[in-house]
Every structure is written in C-alpha cells, then in structure tokens.
Symmetry: C2
Subunit: 574 residues, 2 copies
C-alpha cells in the first residue's frame, strides 16, 4: 500500500477498473477524467482490494529488458520480455509471497461482520468485498442469499412436522407430493432470483460484462513457442494433447474411482441388511447403535474417500496442463462433482428406486446429512478456532516480550507467515452444493433437512467470516463476475430434483393406490406413461422459467443503457 | 447515397460500425484513426448496407429544435427534441419511404447469387450481406448451412431406402433405432456447429458483442412521460400493464385457438377412420384418392388456419404495445410457434402414441409434409415469378415509350413503388423450423423427409434470392448478431426429437419383443422404467454436448483477445 496515489490511479485505468461516476452510474475509470468520479480525492477512493489487484498486476508485469543474470545468482538467467517476478519465484529466490492484513481495517471489519448478531441474517457484503475482493465477496453473497432463501422452506418443514404429528394420530394424509412440488418450485425460484441478484452485484462491483484478462497459471509448462495473442515467446501446449490426455487418462481414472465408490456402496448395503436382520425387533440402545453403525461408518468412509479423491483430481487436472486458472478450476470442479455426486447421492437413489425401502432411505439420508454436517463443522470451525487460540497466545507473548502495544511490520509478517494459505472458495461452494442436493433431491422423504441446513449455514456464515479474518493469511484479490461453474452445478441439481421428486412420489405405493381409486380401469403401463409425460412437461416448464426470467434486472438494464446513451451523445458533441 | 464521404465516415463512427483494421482484426471505426483501416480510401470502403444504415439513423435522429408548425401545415406541430421524420410520417406528409435499388450493383449480385449454379451449394453471403444488410445475410447463411447439413442425412436416407428394399425381400431388419439415433445426433451436431458458425459471421460482419441500440417502434404509443434512459419526454407505457394484457388477453386467446385447432384435428381423425373403414381392401385409384382425401384436406385447412391465426397474433402483439421491435418480434414468434407446433405436430403425436398406428403416421406425415412444401413453394415461387414477369413487361414498355436505355430516378421510383414490401425474415425462418420438425421429430418413420427437404431448400435458396432482387422493394438494413429467438426454437425441437424418437422406438412392438428375447424374465414395468432412465440420460448427454461445445471458435477468441491486448498495450504507451 505504499505505492503513490497517482501511480495507483494510472494502474486502475490500465486494468480497466470500473468506479462510480458523478451521475451515479458505474463506468471504466479514466485518469484524465478522474475529477468526475465520485470521491476521487479521498484516500479510500480505491478500495483495499482494488489497490492490491493493481499492485499484483504491476508486479506480475515487471519484465526483463534484456538477457542477463540475476545479480548474485549466476545460475538464474532472465530473458527479455519474461516476468522477473515469476522467474524469481520459480527459482525459490522468493519463497513466499502474500499480502499482509491491514490490522485497523480488519478490526473494524470483524465488528461489522461476525462479532454482532443480525437477526435479518444480513452481512456487510460491500465491506467484505472491499477488503477481500470479488471472489470472496460473491461467495459470502451467495451463502447469505441461500441462507435467507432457506427460511420459507424451514417454516414449511416446521408446519409439516406439526401437521405430521397431528395426522399420525388420526389418519394418514399423503401430502408428500405437495412437499415435493414446493421444494422443486422453491429451487427454481431460488436459482432464478440468485441469477438476477448476482447480476446486481456484478454491476455494483463493476465487473458486469468485463472479460477478465488472465495471465497463464504458474504451473503451466511446455516448450517455448509463439503466443497467438501477444506474439511473444512463451511456453505453449497444444490443446489436442490436452484433450487426448483428458480422454485417455483423466476420464478412465474418474470412471474407475466412481466404480470403486459404487462397490463400496454395495458392501455397505450387504452389511446394513445383515445387521438389520440380526437385530430385528430389538429396541435397546446397543442394537439401535448397531443398526446405525453401517450408515455412520459409510458416511465417515465417504468423507475420507472424498478427500483422497480430491488430491487425485488435483493431480490429474494439473497434469492436463491448463493454461488459465479458470480452465483448471472448471475441469477440477467437474471431476470432483461427478465423484461427489456418485459418492453422496447414488446410494440414496439405489435405496429409493431399486430397494424401494422408504424408511431406510429416510434413515440413510438423515445419517449421511448429519454426519456430513457435523464432521465438516468440526473440521471447519473447531479446528481453526483452536489454531487461532494458540496463535493469539503467541501474538500476545510477542507483544509482552517487546513491551509495546503494536507489532512492527516484521513481527506481523512472521506471525502471519504461520497462518494457512486460503486455497479459494472451492470447498465452501462444494459443501453448499452437497447440502443443496440433500435438501432438494429427496425433499418429500426428509423435510427437516432444510431446518438443519439453515442452522448449519447460520453457523457457517460466522465461522467462515472468523476464519477469513483470523485463521488464514490474507488472500490475493481476484476479479469475478458471478459464481461461474457453480451456477451450472446448482442448476443441474435443480433439474434433477424435478425427476427424483416425481419418481419418489410415483414410488410411494400410496400414490398409485390413489390413482387406481380415481381411475379404476387404468392399466399400470398407462399410468406410468402418463406420469412420464407429466414429468417431461414439468421439466419443460422448469426450462421455460429460466428462459423467461431475464438475467439482468430492469434497473441495471436502464443504468447500462443510460451510460451508453450518454457516451454516444458526448461522442456526437465532439 | 449522395451524402458526402466524410459525413458518412463520421456517421460510421457515431453508430459504432466495426471495420477491418490494417492488421486484419475487426475493430470499431474511428474517424481520426481512419488511415489505419483497410481500404479506407476506396469508394466502397463503406458497404452499401452500411451507408444505408448510417443515413437511416441520421434521418431518424433529425430532431426539432423548438416548438413550431410544419411550413404550410398549420395543424402539424413539431415539439423540441422529437423526431421530425416520424412526425411527418405519422401525419402522412410522407406517405411511403424506402431505399431504391442500386441497379448496377443488383445486376452484378444477381449473377453471383442465383443465375449461376454452384454444385457446392455455396452462396455469395458476404456480398448479399453487403447489399441487403445483416438480418437478410444471416438468414441466407443459415439456410445455406442447414441445406448443406442435410446432405449426409440424405445419403443415409438413400442408403436406407436401398437397404430397406433389399431387406424387405429377405427378412425384416429393425434398423429404426439406428436411424433415430443418427437423426438425433445429427440435429445436435448441426445446431452446435451453427452456433459456432454464427459467431464467425458475427465477428466477420462486426456485430459480435455489440448490443444494438434501438429506437422505439413506430407503432408504440402511450401518454407522455420521462424516458428513464435518455431523460427525454416521450410516450411511456408501464410494463405491468403490458404483462397484465399478455396474461389476461393474449394467453387465453392463444389457448382458445390451440384448442380449436385440436378440435379440428379430432374431426379430421373421425373422418379419416370413417373413410378408411369404408374403402378397406379396395386398391383402385378412386378409393386410394378418397383414403388420402382427409389428410390432404386437413393439410390445406392447416395452412389456411395458420395464416388466419397469423393476423390475429400480429394484432394481439401489437395491442401489447411493445416499445422495441425486438420485443415485439420475440412475443410474436412465441405466439405463432406455439400455435404452429400444435397445428402441425400434435396430430402426428396423437397418431403415434394414442392411436399407435405406424402406417397411418407415415402416411399423414408424408401428406402433411409434401402439401406444406408444395403449397408454400407455389405461394413463394410461382406467384412472385408471375408478378415479376408482369412488372418487367411494364418496365420494358416504359423504356420503349421513352426510347432510351436507362430509367430516370423518378421512373425507377414509380416502378419500385409498385413492388411489395419485404416484411422481414419471419416466414422464411418459420418454414425452415416446421421442416426441421418434420425431419427430426419422427425420423425413423419417414426417412425420405430429409431428401425432400434438401430438394426444397435448394429451390428455396434460388427462389428467395430471386424474390429479394426482383419482387420486393429494397428493404431497410438492420443490424443483428445471430438468428436470435429462432436458435432457441430450433434447439427446443432438437431436445423434443430425443424424446419423440425414443418414444417411437419404444412404441414399435418389435423393439419390446427384441428385449423380451434378450431378458425373458423382465417385467413390462421394469422395461419401461429402464427405457425412461435411458431417455433421461440421453437428454442429459444432449445438454452436455451443448454445454461443452464452446460458442466462440478458437480463432475468433484469439482475434478478439489479440485486439484487446494490443489496445491495452497502446493505452499503456500513452
């Protein structure tokens, strides 16, 4: 943050930063026109995160002018036009490189973010984004939006619980299909509203419609060749090689892993059946523990398998040698989602549609869901909290030994060096994705899922905030204009929810009985075909909703058009 | 075309026209930087269509400076800031307004376009676009691409025909499912490749990523209010009123019309069955004519119904009072597609899945398809040709009576005034859409459909070209960057093709028999459920294909990135 103000403003123009103009619109910053931007004379005109971004780009773009050796290191040669910084980093002359926390700003942020309790579940997203940048800002925005969206579902779940208790005494009411329909509609509405909300954030944060310029990944390697865009010498790697590698190595390995996971699932089932038979009818503590043992063991194995597979997926994707970080992420996400889907949900589908055992489905769903939640909360909240406690004692000891109230920058650096690096929002999104799956895919079987999800997310919001401030090193700032591949992943689950919920309704024998009562002459085949037709129509309607709801809200559209119109007018006046 | 060259170049900058730069890339034209654009000194640097566009925008943007009356017309008042041109047009001081044909250019275009026969089926698309503009250029590009894409299908159809004749003598080979799978894959591949091709055209024609600025439609009306974008006084119409009108008037009327069409269909069926029963077993000419009578009558009624409904749909959409032409078109297309789908395909679905009568399906499909093709070719080719013949005799008479070789501009205007106005590409796309439906929805039942479609389209390419040059007035030029809503409409058919083809395979009893031979113990319900599962997986795969194939081809991506990179570099040097 010691770069001079003008330097930073020039940098802001170079990376095409967008800021608020005097008329309230958001437009690309221009140095010569700087007096027309709101608050440009303030010291905090450029946000913390924006300054970091500019400095990072400037550092990365420091390039050697001619071929020479690094002073003092005769073995390390710099080539003209190549990044000096990367060269030093790859030769481990620079061993570690991260931004320091701004302690006063962080202190203020802590109070606004997680040290107060807001009953509206609202978070100071603009301030989070101002400090940590877009990627982290949009994650917390999504978490916040999703958590608030769960509230109506929870109310429904509570109502159903109340009603369910009452109807169980009198007679059985088959309201499963109502629950399913509501969950499916809810998932559609939630994603459509998020789509619009996300555009609003992109607009406010100045990333709407900007295609982010990416440097190659640090891990990218290949023989020197001509970059088609910049016409510079740099490592190139033909995409046919990459595609071949994906087809011949990555795909088979992923399929193998999924097969192994499915085999594990079958072992689990045979064990489960064996134990259920063994303890049939017994209700004491030991036997109910034994009956639940397989599903709990299986849940733990799933968690272990997931983390092992994660390492493998990272290795495979790294071997695919993607040039851009975004491509790397996309391929990694796809690999992990395929496996995690199989690992978490296939067993449930199997129980539901092949075994046709609804009580067992409910029990497995509950165990999987709760174990998943408890273990990840423990790993993500308690463990970091203990680390934090240990480190703050170190911090206080350092202060005490030096008899002063503030740390020097060197001391701060040493302390923050001990912190873990934050590897991005991947795990956080994945957790939400799996949770979303548990909530919507089998909604009619286990309505309390939404209640537990809400409780979990309220804790998650606070614990993630705590971790960002106290446990991790300050992460680098990246631009983004939405949640990217995750949007597609959530939407896929939402479409699948239509299919699985309808199939579940169909499978509950009470529903078919009901139809026979209304149409005594209908053959089973015709009922099935009619059902499939209805399901297809619902899928079509689901698609129609996402087609009809515009991505860009009205006010954002008006604002962007207004800006374009005025710049056209200005051009004409010239 | 009498506007001075500099004026036109300034206009080109004002509307943000994109032209080829000296380094081969396409970028926004800038007057001060004009010497760096390829061929800028040539007279035809700006294409005919681009000049027209610039002049149209300039004319539309002539606005009154202060409140006064039109000289000589005390009743017509001009308001400051309002378009003079529109005011004159709405008061019928200007009764008709259209660009004249450029006779020498048109003459050259004719020879390149339809007077030569190219066995590669290729059309001079760049030249068509240079003369008629983007919307018409992209329509012919699509027609051309679709026609060429039909060739492999036709080869397959011919092969099947040959094989079918042979296998009918020996034994029955159930190759329906092979045909279906190929058609479904073909439709996916065709649309994905078009998606990329369309991006290439957009890039070459300089409309990639440009959001076209639209003035309100001429028919738009409402009380004066403040435009949110321009802050000017102009007619406004709240969108809630429009949405209410769509929901309460348009939707019910459309549903009513569809219901009427379905009733007509049922009448047709009862008539068909009655006549089939009556002439059962008779094979003479009269009875085979009588047997085909209902389906031919029905086809003609469908055509009539379509054109009546069209008028209604236009009226309804006009009443919805859309502000922009593109919104008007989108709503009109949706209305017409829903009705035309019901009108053209519902009967076929009914025959296939409720009646379960494959020979009848084949016969109805053939009749509907051929009648549709023949009638529309007659309306679209023969009728215009006769009109043209009549008009050219007039033209020659004018020349003769004046004893000269060329027409004066006044005479040309009078002659072209008699021509019909070209109302846009709507009908042409609709015809292709219906044809595409006939080809892919029931492909295994009637493989020759592709053959007839190919023949039709080859004629269509030439006859449409003929009409554009000789029958219609020269149309106004509009920018576009793709086929818009039609892409979605074609994709919807392609998804539906997966469902309908699989359902057809399933319905042919031979397929089920085959499964029973392989799995003798399988229950019918399980076979159905397995089949539905397979169908869902195929739908997922179809979606995956369109998700995985990138919209922007590699070379276009490199070009755009290169341009961005160099402008960033230039900015840095400044």
């Amino acid at each position: 943050s010691s770069a001079s103000k003008y330097r930073l403003l020039h940098g802001a123009e170079a990376i095409g930063l967008k800021k608020e103009y005097k008329d309230g619109s958001i437009r690309e910053f221009c140095f010569t026109d700087r007096y027309n931007f709101t608050n440009q004379e303030d010291d905090d005109f450029l946000l913390e995160s924006e300054k970091h971004q500019i400095i990072k780009v400037e550092l990365d773009s420091l390039r050697a002018l001619d071929e020479k050796y690094v002073p003092g290191h005769q073995s390390i040669k710099l080539y003209p036009g190549k990044s000096i910084f990367r060269r030093l980093a790859s030769n481990e002359l620079i061993t570690d490189f991260f931004p320091l926390h701004d302690r006063p700003a962080l202190h203020k942020l802590r109070w606004a973010w997680y040290k107060t309790i807001d009953l509206n579940l609202r978070q100071p997203l603009d301030r989070v984004r101002a400090y940590f940048g877009d990627t982290i800002g949009i994650y917390f925005a999504f978490l916040n939006f999703y958590t608030i969206a769960l509230v109506p579902l929870v109310m429904l779940g509570l109502m159903h619980w109340g009603l369910g208790l009452r109807t169980d005494i009198g007679g059985k009411v088959d309201d499963n299909w109502v629950l399913s329909v509501i969950h499916v509609l809810w998932s559609a509405a939630f994603l459509e509203m998020w789509k619009r909300k996300s555009t609003e954030y992109s607009y406010k944060w100045g990333t709407l419609g900007t295609k982010v310029w990416e440097e190659p990944r640090t891990g990218f390697r290949g023989p020197l060749g001509l970059n088609e865009v910049t016409q510079r010498q740099e490592p190139v790697y033909p995409s046919w090689k990459r595609n071949l590698r994906i087809l011949l190595i990555s795909c088979p390995v992923v399929v193998l892993c999924v097969t192994l996971a499915v085999c594990l699932m079958f072992y689990y089932f045979s064990w489960e059946i064996y134990l259920t038979e063994m303890y049939r009818g017994e209700t004491d503590l030991l036997s109910s523990l034994m009956k639940n043992a397989p599903s709990i063991t299986y849940s733990v194995l799933i968690l272990l398998g997931n983390s092992l597979y994660r390492k493998l997926a990272e290795f495979l994707t790294d071997q695919e040698n993607h040039r851009l970080e975004s491509d790397f992420q996309k391929n990694l996400i796809t690999k992990i989602l395929v496996f995690d889907f199989a690992n978490n949900f296939l067993a449930l589908f199997y129980i539901a549609f092949i075994y046709d055992d609804m009580p067992m489905l409910r029990q497995t769903l509950r165990n999987l869901f709760l174990v998943h939640m408890i273990v990840s909360q423990a790993l993500e909240s308690l463990l970091p909290y203990w680390t934090f406690r240990y480190r703050s004692s170190l911090y206080r000891a350092t202060l005490k030994s030096n008899r002063k109230a503030e740390l020097t920058m060197h001391e701060q650096t040493c302390l923050e060096l001990q912190r873990d690096t934050y590897w991005g929002t991947f795990d956080d999104y994945l957790e939400l994705w799996l949770q979303f799956g548990y909530v919507v895919l089998f909604s009619c079987v286990y309505p309390p899922a939404a209640i537990f999800a809400l409780i979990n997310n309220v804790i998650e919001m606070k614990s993630d905030a705590f971790k960002m401030c106290n446990v991790y090193r300050r992460p680098f700032v990246y631009q983004t204009n939405g949640i990217g591949t995750w949007k597609v992943a959530f939407e896929a689950l939402s479409y699948l929810a239509v299919v699985s919920n309808l199939a579940l309704i169909f499978h509950t024998s009470r529903f078919i009985e009901g139809i026979y009562k209304v149409f005594p002459d209908a053959s089973t085949i015709n009922i099935i075909l009619a059902f499939v037709a209805v399901e297809h129509i619902l899928l079509g309607v689901r698609w129609l909703i996402s087609y009809a709801v515009p991505v860009v809200p009205h006010w954002v559209k008006v604002e962007t058009q207004r800006m374009k119109y005025f710049s056209l007018q200005a051009l004409k006046r010239q």
